[in-house]
């Protein structure tokens, strides 16, 4: 049997080269980690008919169906066309519905469960994830984005190239406050201690406040209520072999429009500065090479941030490097 396969195309098609010759695995995108249950039947059919009857849930909230023969890719692509059409119906620009996934470099946009379910979430993460998916997919550039409802960061936005964290501006009406201090105690115990109690009312230190909204949730009288929704953008967090690290705050108090524009601009930045001699280059490494200043300039082009927004002047990434002189026991 002759196997003549363009592995570059295979990878772009969301399949992968596995350790077993001729056997591949298919990754199903699940934007925002939320999927209509009707697609389960298709995933099941692919796994049972073409795979080994199992499915792996990926770290980015997709499904990976292993044990597929590379020869069956065309058949499978046809079988999964309703899933692709589903993306298209959501507004993702895909030309060929029968050809499987058109790109795999830009990874699935993952999301915590968000405010459709979670009381802590400050916005609908699933909806934002879909908006981002529409904006950036299909694309070959290697980018990881995740969105999370609040600074608890359950989706681990801090491990992404771009992480979006929901913020809410808490609004305090002192006349409704009964001084129970539920907010003060909770902020001290579970958040950052941004609240103090003075003259029987609550004082909020805006520099300590991380706008998580816990005070609003704890308030029995609605003395704390929700103001505008905002987003904190953290950037260039990653695992990987080169200097793994947590993402750092790039912008606080951004609005949705700015978030989307910045993400879009980041692709122009990549396009401009990517090392084209390489097979692929992860955005984090490009920013490391070109510097934060250049990145900032490029991604903020034509972005109209809200008045409240604060942009980091400089980012000090720590993380760790393997070449340092760790002293072991």
């Amino acid at each position: 049997m002759i196997l003549d396969i363009d592995t570059k195309l295979l990878k772009k098609n969301a399949y992968r080269v596995t350790k077993q010759r001729g056997i591949t695995a298919l990754r199903i995108r699940v934007p925002g980690g939320h999927l209509n249950i009707k697609y389960f039947d298709i995933i099941k059919e692919v796994a049972e008919k073409y795979g080994n009857g199992t499915v792996h849930i990926t770290t980015r909230q997709g499904f990976e169906i292993p044990g597929i023969s590379m020869e069956k890719i065309d058949e499978i692509n046809e079988l999964i066309s309703p899933i692709i059409r589903g993306l298209k119906d959501e507004g993702v620009q895909i030309e060929d519905e029968e050809g499987g996934y058109p790109a795999a470099g830009t990874r699935n946009v993952s999301a915590c469960i968000g405010n459709r379910v979670c009381p802590f979430a400050n916005y609908d993460t699933t909806a934002l994830a879909l908006k981002i998916e529409k904006l950036i997919y299909p694309n070959d550039y290697h980018v990881k984005i995740a969105v999370t409802g609040c600074p608890n960061d359950c989706i681990k936005a801090h491990m992404q190239d771009i992480g979006i964290i929901g913020q809410v501006e808490p609004i305090y009406d002192p006349s409704r406050c009964i001084g129970c201090q539920a907010c003060v105690k909770n902020c001290k115990r579970r958040v950052t201690g941004a609240l103090t109690f003075e003259n029987f009312k609550v004082v909020r230190d805006p520099n300590r406040c991380i706008s998580c909204g816990e005070c609003i949730l704890k308030c029995p009288t609605s003395a704390w209520t929700r103001g505008e929704k905002y987003y904190r953008i953290v950037i260039m967090g990653r695992t990987g072999k080169k200097n793994p690290r947590l993402a750092q705050t790039f912008i606080e108090w951004a609005d949705e429009e700015s978030v989307l524009k910045i993400i879009k601009n980041m692709y122009d930045f990549i396009d401009k500065y990517i090392d084209k001699t390489l097979d692929k280059e992860h955005v984090g490494y490009i920013v490391d090479r070109e510097g934060f200043k250049k990145f900032k300039e490029e991604v903020l082009k034509d972005v109209k941030l809200p008045k409240k927004a604060k942009v980091a002047n400089h980012i000090d990434y720590t993380g760790y490097r393997y070449e340092r002189n760790t002293i072991y026991d």
Binding site: S175, G179, C180, C219, P220, R226
Partner: protein, 340 residues
């Protein structure tokens, strides 16, 4: 006889009345719910029919209209003090019968509890005109029939809101000038049966078995389950406890004000006394104190049950503790205890 109104003539009536009255009703505040993308239904000032929210029970009760959460009693400086002015306008409150009855319960506490009337309460309460909203179905946690608060006949004007068809009965002639429309047969209706029926305990039986109820194990469960957040008391239309706060202004501590602010028997600090001691440290004990006030102590003193059966405490409890269930447990315990 009643008067039939359309939205336009209703709005016109509100416009006329607003010259002499501040008008309150349940309103929907968009995005102001505790959770994101949820609304808060509460009492607020209205100017038109569309402002009134009838599809949902208000989270907070209309008690804050006449008994504000924070109320300055007087301002003081070195050798002078002054009571704050209040608005000249009267107060119209659109409310359901349970909430209207809650005003009568508050009256007992503030006006008939001891030799003095509470002037701060009285001067707002005297302004109130009851615009009662007909309520024949209630909501899923209502039990006003069980507490005898389903009817309120001493209204000024009574309203039936049937989609955009409004019928009213103007009992207080003072308001006849504002409402004009076709005269129709109209008999106000009240809810006769709630989804939930609660048997209240016999207070004589409790009095005879006070130690037994006081020490009953049923309260222990709430020491574990209750988080002492006070939501039940804040939303309750009949809870009336307050604390005093003397504020000395930061820039000039020679001036300041004395405020009274709602307090809650469920919240830490309520029983703090000189020397640092406090009572009812177990949350189950606080629950007992609250529940017994609602269904026993108040009735013993004033001859009527304090609870009006609005069910807000059940609606707002983040720990899913049901006051209704506790009342049933008390009744059961009392009945069983007596038979022992």
């Amino acid at each position: 006889m009643g008067i039939e109104l359309d939205v336009k003539s209703f709005d016109n009536a509100l416009k006329i009345l607003s010259k002499k009255y501040k008008i309150f009703a349940p309103v929907r505040l968009k995005g102001k719910g505790s959770f994101s993308d949820t609304d808060l239904v509460t009492y607020g000032e209205i100017s038109s029919y569309k402002d009134i929210e009838l599809s949902e029970k208000s989270r907070y009760s209309p008690k804050e209209v006449i008994y504000p959460i924070t109320q300055t009693l007087f301002y003081f400086t070195e050798d002078e003090y002054k009571e704050p002015e209040i608005d000249d306008k009267g107060i119209i409150v659109f409310l359901r019968p349970c909430d209207a009855n809650s005003y009568l319960k508050l009256d007992n506490i503030f006006l008939k509890n001891g030799p003095y009337e509470d002037n701060y309460y009285k001067r707002l309460r005297d302004k109130v005109k009851f615009f009662v909203i007909e309520c024949t179905k209630g909501f899923s946690t209502c039990f006003c029939v069980s507490t005898g608060s389903n009817k309120f006949l001493d209204y000024d004007v009574f309203f039936r809101f049937d989609n955009d068809k409004i019928t009213c009965d103007v009992k207080n002639d003072e308001f006849s000038y504002a409402f004009s429309g076709k005269e129709v047969e109209f008999t106000p209706e009240f809810i006769e049966k709630n989804e939930i029926e609660v048997k209240l305990p016999d207070i004589d039986k409790i009095s005879q078995n006070l130690e037994y109820v006081f020490n009953h194990e049923l309260w222990d469960e709430y020491t574990k389950r209750c988080i002492a957040c006070g939501r039940c008391t804040v939303s309750c239309p009949t809870c009336s406890c307050f604390s005093m706060q003397d504020i000395f202004y930061k820039d000039n501590p020679k001036c300041g004000e004395r405020r009274r602010v709602w307090a809650s028997c469920m919240v830490d600090g309520f029983t703090d006394v000189a020397g640092g001691h406090s009572y009812r440290q177990k949350y189950g004990e606080r629950m007992r104190f609250k529940v017994m006030h609602k269904i026993y102590d108040y009735k013993k003193r004033f001859g009527t049950t304090m609870c009006v059966g609005c069910g807000r405490c059940d609606d707002v409890c983040p720990e899913y503790i049901s006051f209704i269930k506790i009342v049933s447990k008390v009744t059961d315990a009392v009945d069983r205890g007596e038979s022992k």
